[in-house]
């Protein structure tokens, strides 16, 4: 035997079996680790592959800059602008509601709230994440739409404003919990230093804590934005789905997500309209991908900054 005896005793039992199991496990776990990349690549490939027909026959620029969405008449016109403008209105209204309230709320949660108040409010706010969006859509239909219709004297409450407000309420918990995390991770030393110099707590917050956490707060806003653009059911149920480019939040709007969800069920599989909807999905995927990428990079920078 050429194997030294010390090594032999170290590998008592079933060494060959153990080593083989270890190697197999390591490989299969490695495969699992890469599944996320595989899925992302697969999503892009399948969207792009189904979109090729539209990209070739209609053309990307013509879709992106087209002002008319008449997919069912002859000749069909596939302009994305009504959907893009609608998405922008809904998302803008949502962020206008969610960003100030969310950031202010997270400041209270992280800096002023203590004890049970903090625990309870945190759990309650996070509870909202669990409510399915279709349920929020139903509530919007039943309560918010009629209320807004009478308030603004419009015939129907199904408009960009209604959808935007509900989407804003939906993205509140995302913004609150991520920016609370960012505020929370600002080192205590900074706060104590500022307080020791005679600043009040509020002065400490707006001069020291918030600027230090600003990149995390920015990431929270970006993630909230991603949520809002991608939200489908609320928009489908509340935005009203008109085909025109809107110029006021009190008009019925269509969005990228709503258009896909509504029309995908009715189109001929493999047809031109079908392929155009996949192109729309691709546009949506690329937009949210870029937003999330930006948020993640900012968050990573923040993490590095406080890692010691």
């Amino acid at each position: 035997m050429t194997v030294p005896s010390s090594q032999k005793t170290a590998r008592k039992g079933r060494p060959a079996f153990n080593r083989a199991a270890d190697a197999i496990a390591r490989r299969s776990i490695w495969v699992c680790g890469w599944v996320a990349i595989a899925v992302l690549v697969a999503i892009f490939v399948f969207l792009a592959w189904n979109a090729t027909q539209a990209l070739r026959d209609v053309g990307l620029w013509k879709m992106l800059s087209g002002t008319d969405w008449y997919p069912t008449i002859e000749p069909a016109r596939y302009g994305f602008l009504p959907s893009i403008v609608g998405s922008l209105w809904v998302t803008g209204i949502a962020l206008l509601l969610a960003v100030p309230i969310g950031i202010a709320g997270s400041i209270y949660l992280s800096e002023f709230a203590t004890g049970w108040v903090k625990e309870v409010t945190k759990s309650v706010v996070e509870f909202m994440v669990a409510v399915p969006s279709v349920v929020l859509g139903l509530l919007g239909l039943a309560y918010l739409a009629p209320l807004l219709a009478t308030t603004f004297h419009v015939s129907s409450g199904l408009m960009a404003l209604t959808a935007g407000l509900v989407v804003g309420i939906m993205s509140l918990p995302t913004i609150i919990s991520i920016s609370e995390d960012a505020l929370h991770s600002v080192p205590k030393d900074l706060r104590q230093g500022s307080l020791a110099l005679g600043n009040t707590r509020w002065q400490t917050i707006y001069k020291v804590v918030v600027p230090s956490a600003s990149s995390g707060i920015f990431a929270a806003v970006m993630l909230g934005l991603g949520r809002a653009i991608g939200e489908t059911m609320v928009v489908l149920m509340l935005a009203g789905n008109s085909g025109l480019i809107i110029s006021s939040p009190l008009e019925a709007a269509r969005t990228l997500t709503g258009t896909i969800a509504q029309e995908m069920g009715e189109v001929v599989s493999g047809g031109e309209h079908y392929s155009v909807l996949f192109t729309m999905g691709l546009v949506l995927f690329v937009i949210t991908f870029l937003i999330n990428l930006a948020a993640d990079m900012v968050l990573e920078r923040q993490r590095k900054r406080w890692r010691r």
């Binding site: 496990a25 776990i29 997500t257 949210t288």
Partner: protein, 291 residues
């Protein structure tokens, strides 16, 4: 004015600012809390009267205007079970990879980046992906299995992050002790680290799965039917609570309102009770284990 008086007024002003800021930020947080409580309260208030044994266990009758929602409950349970079947092994495996095997570096950074990005892909895009891959290319048709696979993709990032987070909280001493006793890395992970992290993994996964159960957009394209009997095989379309609710809420001919609100309550209750139970179980398990 003397300097001390000036100082006093400045202190006064700073205090007033602080109180105002506290009130304003507190009001914003209160808004979020009240909105959540309002949502839950409205659903319970409107839905509670229609919850009866018959409503939960009967088939729909006379075009959804009477009867129960059993096939939709069954379909959602089946979809969630299928999602778990696909998402849990892959997700837990990926979590183990990130926490136990991956080295710090560019490649790991890219994996992490993709997971974060996966979590942000809109659910309707997952629906398109599922339609293209599972329904059409894989020839599953609109079916339970296509829907489950689509929802599994959507749930994966949640399961991965939950697993990684739970594994990270297991102290390094335990791993080193196990390795020092001569255990291989695999045995250390399987016998020491995973059991210690199990409560966190299970709870995080249940939260992810309950969110998948409430998703509507992906299953519109991949699994759901407006009316279908209980499926006999995974290759048949199913009814599902969120889709059922969507159709009933937006139909031109309104079905009986008590069925709509009852369905909403069943969906919300199912999703939240699962989450609350899981969180309670985790905190009990955690109090048992002391590092």
């Amino acid at each position: 004015m003397s300097t001390s008086a000036m100082k006093k007024s400045r202190v006064k002003r700073a205090r007033a600012f602080e109180t105002t800021a506290k009130i304003i930020t507190g009001a914003c947080l209160l808004f979020a809390v009240v909105a959540t409580i309002g949502v839950i309260g409205a659903i319970v208030y409107r839905g509670a009267p229609s919850i009866t044994a018959e409503f939960l266990s009967a088939m729909p009758k006379s075009n959804m205007r009477a009867g129960g929602i059993w096939p939709a409950i069954y379909g959602t349970l089946a979809l969630t079970f299928g999602t778990a079947l696909f998402a849990l092994p892959l997700g837990v495996g990926a979590g183990i990879y990130l926490s136990e095997y991956a080295k710090r570096g560019l490649r790991t950074r890219i994996v992490r980046l993709s997971i974060a990005n996966m979590a942000g892909v809109p659910s309707i895009v997952y629906g398109l992906f599922g339609l293209a891959l599972f329904v059409i290319v894989a020839h599953f048709g609109k079916s339970l299995i296509a829907g489950s696979l689509t929802l599994a993709c959507l749930t994966l990032p949640v399961v991965i992050s939950a697993t990684e987070e739970a594994l990270r909280q297991v102290p390094q001493d335990l791993r080193q002790a196990s390795l020092a006793l001569g255990a291989t890395k695999l045995r250390t992970v399987a016998r020491v680290v995973l059991p210690a992290a199990a409560p966190g993994i299970v709870t995080g996964s249940i939260l992810g799965l309950s969110r998948a159960a409430g998703e509507t957009a992906p299953i519109i394209l991949t699994a759901a039917a407006f009316y279908a009997p209980l499926p006999n095989s995974p290759f048949e379309p199913v009814m599902a609570l969120p889709y059922h609710l969507y159709i009933m809420a937006t139909q031109a001919v309104k079905p009986a309102p008590h069925i709509v609100w009852g369905t909403a309550l069943v969906l919300v209750a199912g999703v939240t009770i699962a989450g609350v139970l899981a969180a309670a179980w985790r905190s009990r398990q955690r109090s048992k284990i002391r590092w």
